[in-house]
């Protein structure tokens, strides 16, 4: 685990407040760690939801925080705690993706799954609607879309994390966007 910052970092609480709780949590204070959990759970939960889908999102979110507690001793404050936690979450979610992918045997090629859902609007909120559409993307395309367009990682970083070529990352991102384009309602589209 390193402290490399993603391109976009927007911890949900100011850094100094985190630093106090991190220092306390590192000395074993679970109440301080609970405050860190409450400050960051929304971002971790959102990431897990978009990266892994709704099926195991609660368990994965808990996994992230349990892992963070276990690894807290290695946090040296070289990056914001939110950045460190986010990177830890991405790493865990990607490793889970490999494991769960083998179990679930979900096919990346099943573009038709999204096509069938195109136009179905399940919530009145644009963000929620996009989340639903993201959840229906094939695994590979979805994770690259989330990492690049939602979380702000660069293709080079994604390539390193996933062990793929930069060109593959770009191709999957374009694929994801084009699939999502089919899901956008006409009113949400540009140029119409």
């Amino acid at each position: 685990m390193d402290d490399t910052a993603p391109a976009v970092d927007s911890p949900s609480r100011p850094m100094p407040a985190d630093a106090v709780d991190v220092a306390l949590a590192q000395s074993g204070d679970q109440q301080a760690f609970e405050r860190l959990y409450r400050a960051h759970v929304g971002r971790v939960f959102g990431l897990a939801l978009r990266m892994a889908g709704p099926g195991a999102v609660e368990e994965l979110t808990q996994d992230v925080f349990v892992r963070a507690w276990e690894k807290l001793g290695s946090f040296r404050g070289e990056a914001a705690f939110g950045t460190w936690l986010h990177r830890l979450a991405v790493n865990l979610l990607l490793s889970e993706r490999t494991r769960r992918g083998r179990e679930r045997k979900r096919l990346d090629e099943d573009d038709a799954a999204l096509e069938r859902q195109a136009g179905r609007r399940e919530t009145p909120e644009v963000g929620m609607d996009l989340d639903v559409a993201i959840g229906r993307l094939p695994d590979g395309a979805r994770q690259i879309f989330v990492l690049h367009d939602v979380e702000g990682y660069k293709h080079e970083e994604i390539g390193e994390m996933l062990g793929i070529a930069v060109g593959t990352s770009k191709a999957q991102l374009h694929r994801a966007r084009m699939l999502l384009r089919g899901h956008l309602e006409p009113g949400l589209k540009g140029g119409h």
Partner: protein, 222 residues
């Protein structure tokens, strides 16, 4: 393959600014004559924009109890020695903590006297600590600082009576908390009215005292 087919797969790169300059120029020459590519670019930009606004999502139920349970199980697992347990006290360390607790008691008494306007022992005027931000939830900060400074002096004077390893462990523990206090104070300099930071600072200072109090209790029970 027509021009549109050639460019379709490259439109995301164009939107992201990743297209090499010569290809970008060529695509921009193509766009005025291709409404479909223009529409696709507009949609890709819209998707990109929407994605960047996706915010946090809160779980529908509180996940903390499950996390807390799992943390507790991990800490109790046989053979597991999490980093936090390095701070656990041995008997001599607890003895040192008891000494510190007595010192804290003296400091707290001094603090109480000062807050009532009574001169400190010796009758000399009390030199308060640095005029840092006063956390609303812990109004005695400057007196607290002075008391801690007194304790530090006593510890420096009597530290030789204690096992050096014991003192070192205790100092490390206190330094961790002191670091947290300093960070909270620094944050409060820029936002003195932040209730969260005020509460944290007060809580952290209490924890410093509680650390010693717990150690003393354990000594008494052993």
């Amino acid at each position: 393959m027509n021009d549109r087919d050639v460019w379709t797969a490259r439109l995301s790169e164009y939107v992201d600014g990743d297209l090499p300059a010569d290809e970008r120029v060529a695509l921009e020459r193509h766009l005025p004559e291709c409404a479909e590519c223009r529409d696709t670019i507009a949609d890709l930009r819209r998707i990109q924009s929407l994605a960047s606004t996706l915010g946090t999502r809160e779980p529908q139920r509180d996940l903390w109890p499950g996390i807390q349970r799992r943390i507790g199980e991990a800490e109790r697992a046989p053979g597991v020695l999490p980093f936090r347990r390095r701070l656990a006290f041995t008997v001599p360390q607890l003895a040192a903590a008891a000494v510190l607790m007595m010192i804290v008691g003296a400091g707290t008494a001094t603090l109480a006297l000062r807050e009532r306007g009574t001169p400190a022992p010796g009758g000399a005027p009390v030199a308060v600590g640095s005029p840092t931000v006063q956390p609303a939830a812990f109004a005695g900060t400057t007196s607290y600082d002075a008391a801690i400074a007194d304790l530090e002096r006593v510890l420096a004077d009597h530290g030789d009576d204690l096992d050096s390893a014991t003192v070192r462990v205790l100092r490390q523990s206190l330094e961790t908390i002191d670091r947290a206090i300093l960070q909270a104070r620094a944050a409060l300099e820029s936002d003195p009215s932040d209730p969260y930071l005020n509460a944290h600072l007060a809580d952290t200072m209490r924890r410093k005292l509680n650390l010693m109090r717990r150690a003393a209790t354990m000594v008494a029970a052993s």
